[in-house]
């Protein structure tokens, strides 16, 4: 029966039914065919799936990110990064990595990252003589750091599904984000030496000082968002609320680059983005209810433990499974569908849920870069107007960086867990 439900979901999705409706439709079908409970349970589960306080952080971070895009903040971040690392060989490519890492700290989504930074930095890099394919690949891959570095929407979804703390997960994302970014900069440096990438501009303290002052208010944003959360002053949702307020004040009163028209567009884009993710959240609660009734997560755990209870092997298996799932599923959908099923297994083998959360997000970050379903890579290709195949080939060395980070994070739990243990024992 559960297999028929899963089959129905796959068939419906492949013929083009949106995932949220495919999930509801499959459970509805099961209830009609095999009876049992009245289908009134479906709207009830939809309601309780969506009515969760930590999920409020999603629309608020999306809104804050959108406001920052239209308030001239991205340009200032690029200027600052350029003043910091532009003098290295391959300067602008380095800038691309650094500004993505910084932007990741105020925006929650990788697609937003590509759209915001890519539209500025891709033309700038191409003008300096970088090939468009390399530029698009780099922008795409660095943007995926956004979902490992807090705040991150996939992490919020994971925390809700695994019933663990959003703040702890955010703290755990820092070290892997820095490792991933560092590895990518190393690749850029190697390529820059080999192919003689251009140097952007000589380092000057005055230029740095000017860029720093111009970015001043922007630099305050991560302090508000992360400081408030990690200091235990506010919850992740409240930090997101403060981020909206800060982005609004900076955009309207400090930089004065945002008008009502832009605010209106940004709000409605935020509503659409939120609703499309939240509908899957709500629908996955319906599926979760059905599968739990059928004891599928427990059966899966028992089946897996029957094969092996070795933590290293289980982690390897989960990684391969998540990588494949990430290639075909949107990251939000992957988390909502897979996490509830594998969580009993993860707990029984003794993997820290926070640690596993970082593994899941890293896998999905890689999945965003690999066709057939590569949301971030496709956005970068669209911005740079380049074919997917060539861009993907250029992205491979950077995807390997992410895979190395994944291996390190998987088998050295101390790296992600160091910060949460230190600050939130």
């Amino acid at each position: 029966m559960s297999l028929a439900v899963v089959g129905a979901i796959v068939v419906l999705s492949v013929i083009g039914v949106p995932i949220a409706f495919a999930l509801i439709g499959a459970v509805l079908m099961a209830l009609f065919v095999w009876g049992g409970t009245t289908p009134t349970v479906i709207p009830l589960q939809l309601f309780s799936g969506a009515a969760k306080f930590p999920l409020l952080a999603i629309p608020l971070f999306v809104l804050a990110g959108g406001m920052m895009n239209s308030s001239g903040i991205s340009l200032r971040i690029i200027n600052l990064a350029s003043a910091m690392v532009g003098h290295v060989r391959g300067g602008l490519a380095m800038v691309n990595v650094v500004d993505s890492m910084f932007f990741a700290e105020i925006s929650g989504s990788a697609v937003a990252d590509v759209a915001a930074l890519g539209s500025v930095i891709i033309p700038a890099m191409v003008k300096k003589g970088y090939t468009p394919a390399f530029t698009a690949a780099l922008t795409s891959v660095t943007a995926s750091l956004a979902i490992i570095i807090p705040p991150s929407i996939p992490m919020i979804l994971y925390a809700v599904m695994a019933e663990t703390s959003v703040t702890r997960l955010f703290l755990a994302g820092f070290a892997p984000g820095v490792i991933g970014g560092g590895l990518m900069m190393a690749v850029v440096y190697y390529k820059a030496r080999k192919y003689g990438f251009p140097v952007d501009e000589a380092f000057s303290v005055r230029r740095f000082g000017r860029a720093f002052r111009q970015a001043g208010w922007t630099l305050l944003l991560p302090v508000i968002i992360l400081g408030g959360m990690f200091g235990g002053v506010v919850t992740a949702t409240e930090a997101a609320g403060l981020a909206v307020l800060a982005a609004f004040l900076i955009g309207v009163f400090v930089y004065r680059e945002m008008n009502f028209r832009q605010l209106w567009a940004v709000t409605l884009d935020g509503v659409t983005a939120t609703a499309s993710v939240m509908m899957i959240v709500a629908a996955s609660a319906v599926l979760g209810w059905y599968l739990t009734n059928e004891q599928v997560p427990q059966q899966f755990a028992a089946w897996m433990l029957h094969l092996t209870a070795n933590r290293i092997l289980v982690l390897l298996f989960l990684n391969v499974f998540l990588l494949i799932a990430g290639m075909f599923l949107h990251s939000a959908a992957a988390i909502l569908l897979i996490v509830p099923i594998v969580m009993p297994l993860v707990r029984q083998v003794g993997i820290d849920p926070t640690h596993f959360g970082i593994i899941v997000t890293l896998n999905l970050a890689i999945g965003q870069q690999t066709p057939p379903v590569a949301s971030v890579l496709l956005t970068a290709c669209a911005v740079a107007k380049q074919p997917v195949g060539t861009v993907f080939r250029e992205a491979i060395p950077f995807i390997i960086c992410l895979l190395i980070t994944l291996a390190i994070v998987t088998y050295v739990p101390a790296i992600p867990l160091f910060l949460p243990r230190l600050l939130q024992p």
Partner: protein, 176 residues
């Protein structure tokens, strides 16, 4: 003079049909409602923080109401997402199919989605009736059925948007 005005008239785009204008107006109402929900949600979260630190008193209804707003935003927002074609799906794989097959499958998919939305209206409405005496925990004056009602109402609105889209797609025309 008249001839000139008539000439200009013919250059203009054809007047949108009554139905198109009706839908545009209806979409604007949904847009305004969703924008209000988004703003209210941000304000209520900020108000909660303000009360805790500045007034030094927790707002008892703060988290429950914020959750209700999120439920509303999810369902009314998904009406907007339906209109904009923003729901997350697998269309990447469908792009590899031949044109005719692709169109046929999309029509089937649209029919399935309409059926599910119909079911949401029927069973959502039953839930609203079943819960007509349940109230929110923090404020007894608020009935849960007002919150649940978002499900059948948004289901009906999505149906109303999806039906003409299906007809246009089946006839092989682009969305209006």
């Amino acid at each position: 003079m008249d001839a000139v005005v008539e000439g200009r008239e013919s250059l203009r785009a054809p007047r949108p049909s009554v139905l198109t204008r009706l839908y545009a107006g209806f979409a604007l109402i949904v847009e305004i409602w969703c924008a209000l929900l988004m703003v209210a949600m941000a304000l209520i979260v900020l108000l909660g923080v303000w009360y805790r630190y500045a007034v030094q008193r927790a707002l008892p209804w703060y988290d429950e109401f914020a959750e209700f707003l999120l439920v509303w935003l999810t369902f009314y927002g998904s009406v907007l997402a339906t209109r904009r074609g923003g729901h997350i799906g697998f269309e990447t794989l469908l792009d590899y199919a031949p044109r005719g097959v692709r169109r046929a499958l999309l029509v089937v998919a649209d029919l399935v989605v309409l059926a599910i939305q119909g079911a949401l209206v029927v069973y959502g409405w039953r839930l609203v009736q079943a819960a007509s005496f349940d109230t929110a925990i923090s404020l007894r004056a608020v009935r849960l059925s007002w919150v649940y009602a978002a499900i059948p109402i948004s289901g009906a609105l999505m149906f109303a948007i999806g039906l003409p889209q299906l007809v246009w797609r089946a006839m092989g025309r682009q969305r209006p």
